[in-house]
Symmetry: none
Subunit: 225 residues, 2 copies
DNA sequence: TGCGAAACTTAAGTGAAACTTAAATATGAT
DNA sequence: ATCATATTTAAGTTTCACTTAAGTTTCGCA
């Protein structure tokens, strides 16, 4: 799951990013409205947490802008004070939820789960993905088959999740990079090969009837054997 | 996905075309504004990458011209300097995005994906080509008939794609070379024969009711038997 | 009908892309 | 601070798509 956090207060932003990463979200952080907009235009997120009060462009304007561009990504607005007017204006502009500072991290996590639940439900079955004889439990990061099971590390999990949400589709190394590492991360595309290798080893150990096939000069593709 | 790249600097244009083709876009290249306009008037594209500074007609004028003609194709503008005025003028003229040189290829690709996302969701019919009893799935590189199917290698795929997008048209070996290998590649025209041979073998195995016919001293042509 | 040119087929060689592994580094928990 | 685990880098290895080359067939024309 990939989230964007737009929050100008650096210490709060860092704290929230840490909490979210611990909970296995992939998080990009923007520090003002214009930056947030740029991220939103170039990446696809599963959810956005948007501070209302920000330099250069306020959160509600960002929200209006992306909604008018036809982007329906779920958005939680953050604000310092619970002003009813702000709240109404925010929700009218297309926010899915609203949270006032200060907030408990547990509440934020719960609201994020609620916000992303719908898109998951709309897309497909909830927290468990199936393909062939393997199952990925997104709540526990467990990849299992009738023969065996593994608890996956964060990056491994996101790789197989991406593949299982798009079975039989070709996914390029660049798409993995953009989605999991963020398009501005400077890691070698080598790292994708490494994780593909790890995952294949696990699929073999699971006696999976599916495999990650390489399509030279194109990408990878999860297919039945 | 079919893109038009309008960029006058030959070396940059060539580099970008190569990158885009590698990412399985079909790309036409124009080297000035007037040429770009001609391409845009005679073909339908899924997206356009338009350099602002070009001979004969600048990018923004091209953009204004096609917009006033009612063409809503998504456009990314390219410019050397990040001048705010230029940016505003470009976006006001109807550009969907703006990218300043130099740029990372991964960022360009991400922006193209963002730009074409909507149209991809709208019309996915583009990703499958039909002729006679054979079908080419451009998403999975699969060539199939009611009897059988093959996953094609990159070059094979591009050859049959070119033929299936222009059925009954005569395509010369040179056209294949320019389009698939690039007009400056130094490979023997032998390779075209080789791939035609591979494809014919596959068409036979598919019991296809179409064939690649050779027109002596002219080229090849995909026709019903 | 026979000749030369063009088109075709096949198979082996090559290099770039993909893969694997292990070691180095970063992160995070105790 | 220390140790355990996750992630990234680096380097050596393998694989396979592409190219080449050489021999064969087909075609058009005299």
């Amino acid at each position: 799951m990939r989230l964007l956090l737009a929050e100008d207060e650096a210490s709060l932003s860092k704290a929230v990013v840490t909490i979210l990463r611990k909970n296995n979200y992939t998080v990009d952080a923007a520090y003002d409205g214009v930056e947030a907009l740029e991220y939103l235009e170039t990446n696809e997120y599963d959810g956005v947490i948007l501070d209302v009060m920000m330099p250069r462009m306020d959160g509600i304007s960002v929200l209006q802008k992306i909604r008018s561009a036809g982007n329906h990504v779920p958005v939680i607005l953050l604000t310092a004070k619970a002003e009813v007017d702000d709240k109404v204006r925010g929700l009218d502009s297309g926010a899915n939820d609203y949270l006032t500072k200060p907030f408990a991290s547990r509440e934020l996590l719960a609201r994020i789960r609620a916000m992303t639940r719908n898109s998951a439900a709309a897309g497909q079955a909830d927290s468990k993905l199936h393909f062939g004889n393997i199952t990925l439990d997104c709540a526990t990061f467990t990849l299992s088959s009738p023969y065996n099971s593994f608890v996956l590390a964060n990056k491994e999990f996101q790789m197989i999740e991406f593949l299982m949400r798009n079975p039989r589709q070709i996914i390029s190394a660049e798409q993995f990079m953009d989605r999991i590492w963020g398009f501005d991360a400077d890691v070698e595309s080598n790292v994708v090969w490494t994780y593909i290798s790890y995952l294949r080893r696990k699929l073999t150990a699971l006696k999976a009837d599916v495999e990650i096939r390489a399509r030279r000069n194109a990408g990878y593709c999860l297919e039945k054997m």
